[in-house]
């Protein structure tokens, strides 16, 4: 694990404003950065032996249904494409997780690339979370359609994002770190009425 005392997350400067918005919403909305999560971009043949051995060795099965996620022990897999997943783990687990993947896959061609610092993760939770996202996301986020266990690569406002439904009232937004400030500003703006409604 690299030196962590000097590291800085893309939205470190937004923490106060996100917390203030959460507070003002009086329970309507919780919005916060989840910094330093481990994100590995995985490319692998879904029909190969590595994919078969994956669940046993890595601790999570690779979902094959488009737009779905699978949760394992200390790791989660998000379907991004027919042969692409994002593996998500707690902060600092990138090396160990990558080693497990390589152990599962063996000599089979695979690409495991650390993209943790490339992403910022925002959690939107609370009864108004989906309403806030609906200001800038054209896909249907209704729990009937996009409930827990679903993820989607889409646009939120003008930023490409991965959305992950963590529950009926919680959606995670994964965004490229260079877009993170824009998106956080946009979310705070989009929350304007929803925050006031909860006050």
């Amino acid at each position: 694990m690299a030196e962590t005392s000097t590291r800085r997350s893309p939205l470190a400067g937004h923490a106060d404003r996100l917390a203030a918005a959460t507070l003002r919403s009086a329970g309507a909305l919780r919005i916060e950065e989840q910094p330093f999560r481990t994100h590995l971009d995985l490319r692998l043949d879904p029909s190969g032996p590595g994919a078969g051995a994956f669940a046993g060795v890595v601790g999570v099965a690779l979902p094959v249904e488009p737009g779905t996620t699978a949760a394992g022990t200390g790791v989660e897999a998000l379907w991004l494409g027919p042969d692409e997943w994002l593996l998500v783990g707690p902060p600092g687990t990138d090396g160990e997780l990558a080693a497990r993947v390589h152990a599962a896959v063996g000599d089979e061609p695979v690409s495991v690339v650390d993209v943790s610092a490339q992403h910022a993760t925002l959690l939107l939770a609370g009864p108004r979370a989906r309403d806030v996202l609906a200001h800038g996301c054209s896909i249907d986020l209704h729990p009937r359609v996009f409930g827990a266990g679903h993820c989607a690569q889409t646009m939120l406002a003008r930023a490409p994002v991965v959305l992950v439904a963590d529950g009926p009232d919680a959606i995670r937004v994964i965004v490229r770190s260079s877009f993170a400030r824009y998106l956080a500003d946009w979310l705070l703006d989009a929350a304007t009425e929803h925050i006031a409604a909860g006050a």
């Binding site: 690299a2 030196e3 000097t6 590291r7 800085r8 997350s9 893309p10 400067g13 330093f36 971009d41 490319r43 042969d83 061609p109 695979v110 690409s111 690339v113 650390d114 993209v115 943790s116 610092a117 490339q118 992403h119 309403d131 609906a134 200001h135 800038g136 996301c137 054209s138 896909i139 249907d140 209704h142 009937r144 359609v145 406002a157 003008r158 930023a159 490229r176 770190s177 260079s178 877009f179 400030r181 824009y182 998106l183 500003d185 946009w186 703006d189 989009a190 304007t192 009425e193 006031a196």
Partner: protein, 959 residues
């Protein structure tokens, strides 16, 4: 009858206005009073104000023709509290302090920017119902009860549609009260949304409907600032029910534009909804039985209805005839209005028997201050047309009716031609059920009881009432655009046959109201003039928006800082603190230079250049695109994508490479580092990062799926700091004590994994300046820490941060091209003087075959060369044309090429430029010219040189 002293035409009771909430407003500077629940139009009529506006072309006084959004004449400029141009008074909800003026034709945009909040929301539903009249409400109720996700939109402030302006009874209650109850029930269902004050204005493919909700304008100055004034709804529906009702039509008679001419159904609405009598003594002219109900209701409320001129020779059906007879209203079958007098307000109406376009008997003059008109009803099918729906003309209904649509849409109620309330309710229930069932829900029709339909006479198809004068100069068909029947006949007389051409020739239907009350009339005039059936005329194309929408609403929050994403690196805050001037590179903000107090841009760039050439300087180059290419066939892929050989690269080494398109033109350039046997790190230009990634995926997925390669963008995983200058080695040695930095240990074009300032790093020895230089890559989380460590590593000798402008100068002095600046998609590597980067050994790569085309071997292709202005102080303009002649000759002028880059060089002590010049390499040493300000300006003589102007031997590379 007692009436309010300040509102002489207001009834003491009745209507949906709240008399306990009086409001004052000003119109044309005059203070007036109305009530909560009024529109501006109803309040003006309550005050006896009919002359509201002036027509655009002819300057004729115009009044209020309708009671809704189809209004063609009563346009006002709202001046306070929020300025808005050109709104129909019939849709402006009255509020305290409203100030408006009648318009003479066109409104004007306020000079001040509109800082009010506007926003947008995406919505999805199983069933979207447009229109909350009787049919729409029943449809929405049936669908909502089925469990479907339902959205119901309606343009009025409250649900009910036509019921708000009648005394119809449904299920034992007044229609308006029934509507309110049903809407409340609908809204209480889960996953249902009822949007009032919401106009669906665009219907696109895949049942994508866009609507605008007016949320706070009716609150006036009390509107909360944090609430969006208007909201754009982007609704995607599995099924759509259009219950958009019908518009009452105007008739073509002389002076049909006088203030006091009012559509009959609208007069009824003013009576029942607003408690307003639009006049004292009325005449009705009609082709439709429905208008008799309006006349009867007005008579019951105290209006003297002097006569009904029914254009149909047989007059009305029995129910309508009985209504008139009970009230002693004279009905004149086969009669029309042949003249209307009264400049500011209808004063007298002349009625005469008419048949087949001629007056057939003596006219009688009837004194009246109100002329009620009904030319029958046009189903509102604008959205249906936008959706791709076909219309057919139904002669019996004297209207266009829906005739099939490729989209999942159902038309219900009077929009589909239903004539009676009972029919609308039944139709709505049917539409609601079929929509819900088609969306996968089990639905049950429930039709609320109401009285049965009247026995009606068929609506008339007459359109033109002859006037006393032979011409039709005051028979208006488009009151908004001042287009008359004569104008339309003029169009057909010069040979126009298509209704679309007539529209464009006359402008009829091009106005704010899109001639909602007059389109059928125009079609009938054209049909008659051409001697064809009106069914063959069709309609003009329906296009969004159905009603005008403010640009501010469409812009929403996409303005100012939120207009477009600003992408920043991990070091951005430091750059801001340091006072950097920024440059936009795509969506990125990159420091352009860091001016010191009192420094102008030239001085700052010059200082930064000297630091890089003579000392040590650093730059944030994190924005360069980075792609990891992994897999057993990674080298094969890169050999095919780049013009030069990549797969021979040794682990630990770096190579510069150029990518071309199949046509042989340069696409991008960058470096490739071999990280492991099956692992490469590719860099791209900042602006092309995404495009190159897509390019790789496209070739892999469509042409070479057999290659075992995966490409992953890692642009933002890494923060990258360039350390440049003769002293950079010493600085790096101090920061990375574990790294052997000597030239022999760490040669040019190699990389090392090490620890820099305590941070794990990948250090590449590459140079975009010709100087000894390194690029240090660390995790983006640690980027700021690295940058700050570099800043303090210089000790007392500060390390100069530099920006993109300095980087451009440094690379141009070395003749390094920038893709997209010195190239434009028509430039080969050979044109750039980089034939060495094109492999002669590889069997194939993208672009190879094009290099054997005769065109890419032409001797007069444009080559990248240097230009030195003979006056070393003159800075050539980038984009400047290069000519052979010392004076600009007469056109056509042959330009030999153009200036692609131009700078002042501290190292050269003069200005210089790069240019693409025809046969440029054969002109080196020669003299050419660059005109500065077009043909009349000075012409600068320049000397053509090789593109590398600084350190052509490459002696500085190792420090």
């Amino acid at each position: 009858m007692t009436r309010s002293t300040t509102q002489p035409f207001r009834l003491p009771a009745g209507g949906r206005i709240d008399r306990s909430r009086p409001l004052s407003f000003t119109f044309d500077g005059r203070e007036l009073h109305g009530y909560h629940g009024d529109t501006l139009a109803s309040a003006l009529l309550a005050n006896g104000v009919h002359h509201v506006a002036t027509s655009v072309a002819l300057g004729r006084p115009r009044g209020i023709l309708s009671a809704g959004s189809a209004e063609p004449t009563a346009f006002v400029q709202v001046e306070a509290p929020v300025a808005e141009p050109m709104l129909p008074a019939t849709v402006v909800e009255l509020h305290e302090g409203l100030a408006a003026r009648g318009l003479a034709g066109r409104g004007r945009l306020p000079a001040q920017p509109d800082d009010t909040r506007y926003d947008a929301v995406h919505a999805h539903c199983d069933v979207l119902v447009i229109g909350a009249g009787p049919a729409g409400l029943v449809a929405a109720a049936v669908a909502a009860r089925s469990g479907a996700r339902v959205v119901l939109v309606d343009e009025e402030p409250e649900p009910g549609g036509s019921l708000l302006g009648t005394t119809d009874v449904i299920d034992g209650r007044l229609g308006a009260d029934w509507a309110a109850e049903v809407a409340a029930d609908i809204e209480a269902a889960p996953d249902v949304r009822v949007l009032c004050r919401t106009t669906a204005f665009g219907y696109y493919d895949h049942n994508y409907v866009v609507a605008v909700e007016r949320r706070t304008a009716h609150l006036g100055a009390a509107a909360p600032a944090h609430v969006a004034r208007e909201r754009i709804w982007r609704i995607r529906a599995r099924r759509v029910v259009l219950a958009t009702g019908a518009h009452e039509r105007h008739l073509g008679f002389a002076d049909n534009d006088r203030p006091g001419v009012l559509l009959a159904g609208s007069a009824r609405t003013y009576l029942h909804r607003y408690g307003v009598l639009p006049g004292h003594r009325a005449v009705l002219t009609t082709t439709d039985d429905s208008a008799y109900t309006a006349a009867a209701d007005l008579a019951d409320a105290g209006v003297e209805v002097a006569a009904v001129a029914d254009l149909r020779p047989g007059g009305p059906g029995p129910a309508a005839r009985a209504r008139a007879a009970r009230r002693g209203i004279a009905v004149l079958p086969g009669h029309g209005v042949v003249a209307v007098t009264g400049e500011q307000r209808v004063a007298q109406v002349s009625l005469a028997p008419v048949a087949e376009g001629a007056i057939t008997g003596p006219a009688r003059d009837v004194r009246a201050d109100l002329l009620l008109v009904s030319g029958g009803w046009s189903p509102v099918l604008h959205l249906y047309g936008q959706a791709g729906g076909r219309l057919r003309h139904d002669a019996a209904a004297a209207a266009n009716l829906p005739d099939g649509c490729r989209q999942a849409v159902t038309v219900a109620g009077s929009a589909g031609g239903a004539r009676s309330l009972a029919a609308c309710l039944a139709d709505g229930a049917r539409a609601g059920r079929s929509a819900a069932e088609a969306a996968g829900f089990a639905a049950r029709e429930q039709v609320p009881p109401t009285r049965g339909a009247d026995q009606e006479a068929p609506p008339g198809a007459d359109w033109l009432v002859p006037g006393v004068a032979p011409r039709h100069r005051s028979h208006f068909v488009d009151l908004h655009r001042d287009v008359t029947i004569d104008d339309v006949l003029g169009a057909t007389a010069v040979g126009l046959r298509s209704i679309e051409h007539v529209k464009r020739y006359t402008t009829a239907g091009t106005g704010n109201d899109q001639a909602k009350t007059a389109a059928t009339l125009v079609a009938r005039v054209v049909a008659d003039a051409l001697g064809v059936d009106v069914a063959s005329i069709g309609t003009t194309s329906y296009r969004a928006p159905y009603a005008p929408v403010a640009f501010a609403a469409l812009a929403g929050r996409d303005r100012g800082a939120l207009h477009d994403p600003v992408r920043v690196t991990a070091l951005h805050d430091w750059h801001v603190e340091a006072g950097a001037e920024f440059e936009n590179v795509g969506q990125w903000k990159r420091p352009r230079y860091y001016p010191r107090p009192g420094e102008d841009p030239t001085a700052a760039v010059s200082r930064e250049c000297r630091a890089a050439r003579e000392d040590v300087a650093c730059m944030d180059v994190s924005t360069l695109g980075k792609i990891e290419v992994r897999g057993p066939d990674a080298g094969v892929l890169l050999d095919r994508l780049y013009t030069n050989m990549i797969s021979t690269l040794k682990i630990g080494a770096i190579r510069y490479g150029v990518m071309c398109r199949p046509d042989g033109m340069v696409l991008d350039d960058g470096t490739v580092s071999r990280l492991a046997a099956d692992r490469y790190l590719v860099t791209t230009t900042t602006g092309n990062a995404a495009a190159v990634g897509d390019w790789m995926e496209e070739w892999l997925q469509t042409e070479w799926p057999e290659l075992r390669v995966y490409c992953t963008s890692v642009t933002e995983q890494w923060a990258t700091v360039a350390l440049v200058g003769p002293r950079s080695r010493a600085v790096l040695a101090g920061l990375a004590p574990g790294l052997a930095v000597a030239a022999a240990d760490f040669p040019f074009m190699t990389w090392r994994e090490t620890v820099v300032a305590g941070i794990p790093a990948l250090v590449c020895r590459i140079s975009f300046s010709g100087e000894l230089a390194y690029e240090i890559n660390v995790s983006a989380w640690q980027g700021l820490a690295l940058w700050e460590a570099v800043q303090s590593a210089g000790g007392t000798r500060r390390i100069t941060p530099y920006g993109t402008e300095t980087m451009h100068v440094l690379r141009a002095e070395k003749g390094y091209p920038i893709v997209g600046q010195d190239t434009d998609g028509t430039v080969t590597p050979q044109d750039l003087g980089m034939g060495w980067v094109v492999s002669k050994k590889k069997t194939d790569f993208l672009g190879k075959r094009s290099f054997s085309r005769p065109d890419t071997a032409r001797g007069d292709r444009k080559h990248l060369v240097g230009l030195l202005p003979e006056d070393p102080e003159v800075l050539l303009p980038e984009g400047g044309q290069v000519i052979a002649e010392a004076r600009v000759p007469r056109p056509p002028v042959r330009a030999l090429g153009h200036v692609t880059s131009s700078y002042r060089s501290a190292a050269l002590g003069r200005t210089f430029a790069l240019a693409l010049i025809a046969g440029g390499r054969d002109r080196i040493g020669g003299r050419l010219h660059v005109p500065l300000d077009g043909s009349g300006g000075p012409v600068v003589p320049v000397t053509v040189t090789a593109p590398v102007l600084y350190d052509p031997e490459g002696a500085r590379r190792d420090g």
